[in-house]
C-alpha cells in the first residue's frame, strides 16, 4: 500500500472506533430494553415524578441561564474591558470542576453554614434539600456551556452590521434585540441545547447539594441511580427514557436552527 492510502485507512479506523465506542452504551440500553418495558416504566409514578421534576427544574434553570447569560455573554464578546480574559476563564471554570466538588462548593457557599448561608436564611431562602437547590446546582454546572457558545456566536456577528444598525437610528439595546441576537441565533440555540443536555444529565452536584428525595429533588439521573442497586431493568428503562428525551431535544434544536440562513456559531 502507498503512504497516502495507509493514512486514509488509519483515519477511517479512528473514526469507526470513535463511533462504535461512543454509541455502544446507548445501543446497549435499547437492546436490553424492549419498547414495552420502556412504556411500562413510565407507568411507575415515581418515574413519572422524576421525569416531571427533571423537565421542570431543567427548564427553569435554562430560563435563568438564557436570561442572565445572554447579556453577560454579549458584554464579554463585544466590550473590551480590563480583566476580560480573566472573567472569560472564571465563567468557564465549572466546566472542569468535578460535579462532586461543585456540590461541596455549593454547600460551602450557600449551605446553612456556608459563607452566604446566614444572608439567605435571613432572606427566608432555603436551598439545601429543596427543589430550588436542584435549580441552583443545574445553573452552576450548565451555564458555562451556554456562556461559551453565546460568546462565540456574538463575537461572530460582524461589527459592521452592528455599526449599520446604529447609523440607521437604532440604539444599543435595540440593536442587540433586532440585529445581534437574530444573527447569533443558531449559536445561541446550540448553546442552550448543550446547557439543557448537561442539566438533564446532572447528577453529582445535585446529589451533594439537594439530596435525592422523591418528588422534591429526585431528578431522573438520581432516580436511575436509586433503582440501579435494587432493580437493574427498571434503571435501564428509565435510562432509555432519558436518552429519548435528550435525543428529541437535540433533534428539535437541529430542526429549529436548520431553517433560516443566519450566521453559524464559531
Amino acid at each position: 500500500m502507498t503512504g497516502p492510502r495507509v493514512f486514509s485507512v488509519l483515519l477511517g479506523l479512528a473514526l469507526a472506533g470513535a463511533v462504535v465506542f461512543l454509541t455502544l452504551p446507548i445501543v446497549a440500553i435499547f437492546i436490553d430494553t424492549s419498547p414495552g418495558r420502556l412504556v411500562e416504566s413510565l407507568g411507575d409514578p415515581t418515574a413519572r415524578e422524576a421525569l416531571r421534576l427533571s423537565l421542570e427544574t431543567t427548564a427553569l434553570a435554562l430560563a435563568i441561564i438564557v436570561l442572565a447569560g445572554t447579556p453577560a455573554a454579549y458584554l464579554m464578546a463585544t466590550r473590551d474591558f480590563r480583566g476580560r480574559a480573566v472573567v472569560q476563564t472564571l465563567v468557564e471554570l465549572p466546566l472542569v470542576l468535578p460535579p462532586a466538588a461543585a456540590g461541596i462548593g455549593l454547600l460551602a457557599a450557600l449551605g446553612p453554614r456556608g459563607i452566604l448561608g446566614g444572608t439567605l436564611e435571613r432572606a427566608g431562602v432555603e436551598l439545601v434539600l429543596q427543589t430550588a437547590g436542584v435549580v441552583v446546582a443545574l445553573v452552576l454546572v450548565a451555564a458555562p456551556f451556554y456562556l461559551r457558545q453565546a460568546e462565540a456566536a456574538f463575537s461572530a456577528v460582524p461589527t459592521s452590521a452592528i455599526a449599520a444598525s446604529r447609523t440607521l437610528g437604532a440604539g444599543e439595546a435595540s440593536t442587540l434585540l433586532r440585529v445581534v441576537v437574530p444573527t447569533a441565533r443558531p449559536g445561541l440555540i446550540a448553546g442552550a441545547a448543550l446547557a439543557w443536555g448537561r442539566a438533564l444529565g446532572e447528577f453529582g452536584a445535585t446529589l451533594m447539594f439537594a439530596g435525592s428525595f422523591r418528588g422534591v429533588t429526585q431528578t431522573v439521573p438520581l432516580a436511575i441511580y436509586e433503582r440501579f442497586s435494587v432493580d437493574f431493568p427498571a434503571a435501564l428503562a428509565l435510562s432509555a427514557v432519558l436518552v429519548c428525551v435528550s435525543f428529541a431535544l437535540l433533534l428539535a434544536v437541529k430542526l429549529l436552527t436548520g431553517r433560516g440562513g443566519a450566521v453559524a456559531a464559531r
Binding site: 449599520a164 440607521l168 433560516g260
Partner: protein
C-alpha cells in the same frame, strides 16, 4: 453655499496619527482618496459617531455632533448618517425589503411600506424584495445597501469603498447609479476610495489622504494636472477629462470636451463620459511642429507646473480642461519646457479610455 458638514479630528490610532480638517457642502460629494491605511475609513467613522477621536469637532447643518472640548458626543443613532459599508453590512436575517425599511421604524406602517417599495423600485430590486441577502448577487447587495442608507433621508451620505467588492462589469453600472444617487442626493456626501479614477468619477472634489493627513484637495482634474507632491502625482495616475461622446468618423468615438476641444477614442460610448488616459501616454511637441503622426488627438496647452516624480517630470497643462503629461528630465531640457510656455499635447485614440458617467 454654506459648508454643511464640517469635520476636524486629531487622534492616534495604533501607528496612524490622524489629523484632518474637511468640509463637504450641500449636494457635493467629497471623495477621500488615498492608499489603504491612510485613515480614510477612520474619518467616516468619526463623522458617523462610530469612533470618538481624542480631539475633534463634527458639525452638520449648524448642529454640533461632536465637540471634544465641550464634551458633546452624539451617539450614531442621533446623527442619522446614511452609511454604506465596504462589506455592505446587510442584515442577513432580514429580507431585502426589511433591510431597506430598517431605518424607518419610527414612521407609520403605510409610509414605511411606500418608502421602502419606492426605493426598491428605483434600484430595480422590487422582484428581489423578499430575498435574503445571502441569495442576492454582489450588485444587488450593493444596491440594497445604498437603498437602506438612503431610506431614512439621512443628513449626510458616507460611502466606504462602495464599489470595491464588485467585479469589473458590475462596477461600471454601479458607478453610474451611484453618480446619479450623489447628483440627486441634495446633501453632502463623503466617499472613500483607494482608486483615483473612482474618486474623479464620483467626487466633485477630491481630498488625497496620506498617513492621516490631507496632502492635497481640489477638483480631480486639478489634482492630476498640478499635483502638490510626488505622492499625489503618483497616486492620481490617470488624467481624467469630461465631455459628451457620440459616434465619429472611421468607427471612432468623438468626444466633445466640456469647455471646448475634441478628442477621438477607439472605445465605444455615447452620452456624458469621462475620458481617462495616463500622463505617460501623452507626447509633448513645440507648438510650431505640425508633423503628421499616428496620434489622433492633439490639444494646444499652456504649461502650468513642472513636478519631479522620481525620474520623471509631470508637466501640468492648461487646455480647455487641466491635464498632465509625464516626460523625462532630458526631454524637459531638450524641449525647453518651462511654466508659461506652450506645447502641443498629443496621444493616440487607442489610449483614450472612455467611462460612461
Amino acid at each position: 453655499m454654506a459648508p454643511l458638514l464640517h469635520v476636524e479630528a486629531r487622534t492616534q490610532l495604533g501607528d496612524l496619527e490622524l489629523e484632518t480638517a474637511l468640509v463637504a457642502r450641500t449636494g457635493e460629494c467629497l471623495a477621500l482618496a488615498g492608499p489603504s491605511g491612510a485613515g480614510k475609513s477612520t474619518v467616516l467613522r468619526i463623522v458617523a459617531g462610530l469612533l470618538r477621536p481624542e480631539h475633534g469637532v463634527v458639525r452638520c447643518d449648524g448642529r454640533v455632533w461632536l465637540d471634544t472640548t465641550a464634551g458633546v458626543d452624539l451617539p450614531p443613532e442621533r446623527r442619522c448618517c446614511g452609511f454604506v459599508f465596504q462589506d455592505y453590512a446587510l442584515f442577513e436575517h432580514l429580507t431585502a425589503r426589511q433591510n431597506v425599511a430598517y431605518g424607518l421604524r419610527d414612521r407609520p406602517r403605510e409610509e414605511r411600506r411606500v418608502r421602502a417599495d419606492g426605493l426598491l423600485e428605483r434600484f430595480e430590486l422590487l422582484s428581489r424584495a423578499d430575498a435574503r441577502p445571502a441569495t442576492l448577487s454582489g450588485g444587488e447587495r450593493q444596491r440594497v445597501a445604498v437603498a437602506r442608507a438612503l431610506a431614512p433621508e439621512p443628513n449626510v451620505l458616507l460611502l466606504d469603498e462602495p464599489l470595491s467588492a464588485l467585479d469589473a462589469r458590475t462596477r461600471a453600472r454601479a458607478a453610474r447609479e451611484l453618480a446619479a444617487v450623489l447628483r440627486d442626493a441634495g446633501r453632502p456626501a463623503v466617499l472613500v476610495t483607494h482608486d483615483f479614477t473612482e474618486a474623479a468619477l464620483l467626487g466633485d472634489r477630491v481630498a488625497v489622504l496620506d498617513r492621516g493627513r490631507v496632502v492635497q484637495e481640489g477638483e480631480p482634474a486639478e489634482l492630476a494636472a498640478a499635483p502638490a507632491s510626488a505622492f499625489v502625482a503618483d497616486f492620481t495616475g490617470a488624467v481624467v477629462l469630461t465631455g459628451a461622446a457620440r459616434p465619429g468618423p472611421g468607427g471612432l468615438t468623438e468626444v466633445e470636451l466640456d469647455g471646448g476641444g475634441r478628442v477621438r477614442s477607439t472605445y465605444q460610448a455615447e452620452g456624458h463620459v469621462a475620458v481617462s488616459l495616463f500622463p505617460w501616454e501623452i507626447l509633448l511637441d513645440p507648438p510650431e511642429a505640425t508633423a503628421t503622426s499616428s496620434a489622433r488627438n492633439q490639444l494646444v496647452a499652456e504649461i502650468v507646473s513642472l513636478t519631479t516624480v522620481g525620474g520623471r517630470v509631470r508637466v501640468g497643462l492648461a487646455a480647455s480642461q487641466p491635464l498632465a503629461a509625464e516626460v523625462t528630465a532630458d526631454a524637459v531640457r531638450e524641449l525647453d519646457l518651462r511654466v508659461g510656455g506652450r506645447v502641443v499635447a498629443s496621444w493616440k485614440a487607442t489610449a483614450t479610455r472612455l467611462i460612461v458617467v
